[in-house]
């Protein structure tokens, strides 16, 4: 196996982690990762060095963005009201809370926060992945953190985004 393949393979666990946190749906996340890998293998000749990991995050982020765009064109059938979920206590509840807080973020903010906090990318790398200036990454991060705090503080209904 060549160096390219090896590097791609080494990134799979982290890609799955990022995709899962980004979509909060295991099946969807793994489909995204597989599509990312297929696209990466197909575009191997387009990869001109640099950090393979960032490149893979870029592909995955774009694929997810396309997916959301396609979804937005369809009438929404998903219930956005998940208050019916049973109330949990203990660490389980905390895990649910952070998931829901993440779900309340705009896609670009969620992606920026996860890439920094979960994937350990630098601001510069995130700027490359998202195709925006570093300043935009920083304001996305700031807004994401503010929104999560507001959500966890109990301002859920008011700030809930209807997508």
């Amino acid at each position: 196996m060549g160096g390219f393949r090896q590097a791609v393979e080494g990134a799979v666990p982290a890609l799955r982690r990022y995709a899962r946190a980004l979509t909060r749906n295991g099946e969807l996340a793994d489909d995204l990762v597989q599509d990312t890998l297929v696209r990466a293998l197909r575009s191997e000749h387009l990869f001109h060095g640099g950090d393979i990991r960032s490149w893979l995050y870029t592909i995955l982020t774009n694929l997810n963005r396309n997916r959301l765009r396609a979804l937005a064109r369809r009438p929404a059938l998903q219930s956005i009201d998940d208050n019916d979920a049973p109330e949990l206590a203990g660490p389980e509840a905390g895990a649910r809370d952070i998931e829901r807080a993440l779900a309340s973020l705009v896609e670009d903010q969620r992606s920026a926060l996860l890439l920094v906090v979960l994937e350990g990318l630098t601001y510069r790398e995130v700027a490359e992945v998202q195709g925006v200036p570093i300043g935009t990454v920083m304001s996305r991060l700031a807004r994401a953190r503010m929104q999560i705090k507001a959500y966890l503080d109990g301002e859920r209904p008011a700030l809930r985004r209807v997508k």
Binding site: M1, R5, V8, E9, V12, P13, A14, R16, R17, R20, A21, D30, V33, Q34, L37, V38, L41, R42, S43, L46, N66, P91, G94, A95, D97, I98, E99, A101, L102, L113, L114, V116, V117, L118, T122, Y123, M138, L141, A142, R145, I148, K149
Partner: protein
Amino acid sequence: MIDRDPRVTEEELHAYVDGELAADRRAAVEAWLASHPEDAARVAQWRAQADAIRARFGALASEPVPARFDLVRLARRTRSWRAAAAAAVIVAFLAGGVVGWMARGASAAAPSRFDTFTAQALDAHRVYVVEVRHPVEVTGGERPHLVQWLSKRLDYELRIPDLESSGLKLVGGRLLPGPFGPVAFCMYEGPSGERFTIYYARTDSPQTAMRYRAGDRFAAVYWVERGLAYVVSGPLERERLLNVAQAAYDQIDKGMPQAR
């Protein structure tokens, strides 16, 4: 060391939490936090958020990777796709003077006519090839009527090819609603019951080369000629499908249909 700018911005607080702060500002930020409990609380909250996110999702990266992500297998799929695409190009050139092959990578943005028509044709194929009693509206026994009816609805003199030389008998055809108007859809059947379909839709797209697209169970070959898009769909057998598409192309080409 005397810090010239003791004021700390919010951006610096984020950078501090994320390990992005310039080393020479670290002392200033820490001093600032020591004397600004509200900012210290925010920094603590951001760290707690990050910890919660890592606690929730971090373990995933140490799970064993499922077999579906095996790169050798995925690469094989990619290669066979490339071979199929290359074969489709060759067929297209054999078919004569067809240009404009476009690499798949160029179609990332809006769905192209290729994507739209092949997706719809494959959907129709999937739905109707399993029909035993009502696969078509007008049977192949009424070929002249079928041609006349579908041509009238599409406002285009259709050619419904005779594919007996490929071992396929015309089952018949039907009219379908398409994204841009009515669509004609004809079905053929081989000796062992395998079915092929041809999808015809009016289009303003320029003439294209044949393009191959493999679905999950069926595959399709697409081309555009004289204002009509054709999609030949069939079982996932590349060579056979390309041969059938080629035969259909040749037959249609002989007739030279004219848009009315």
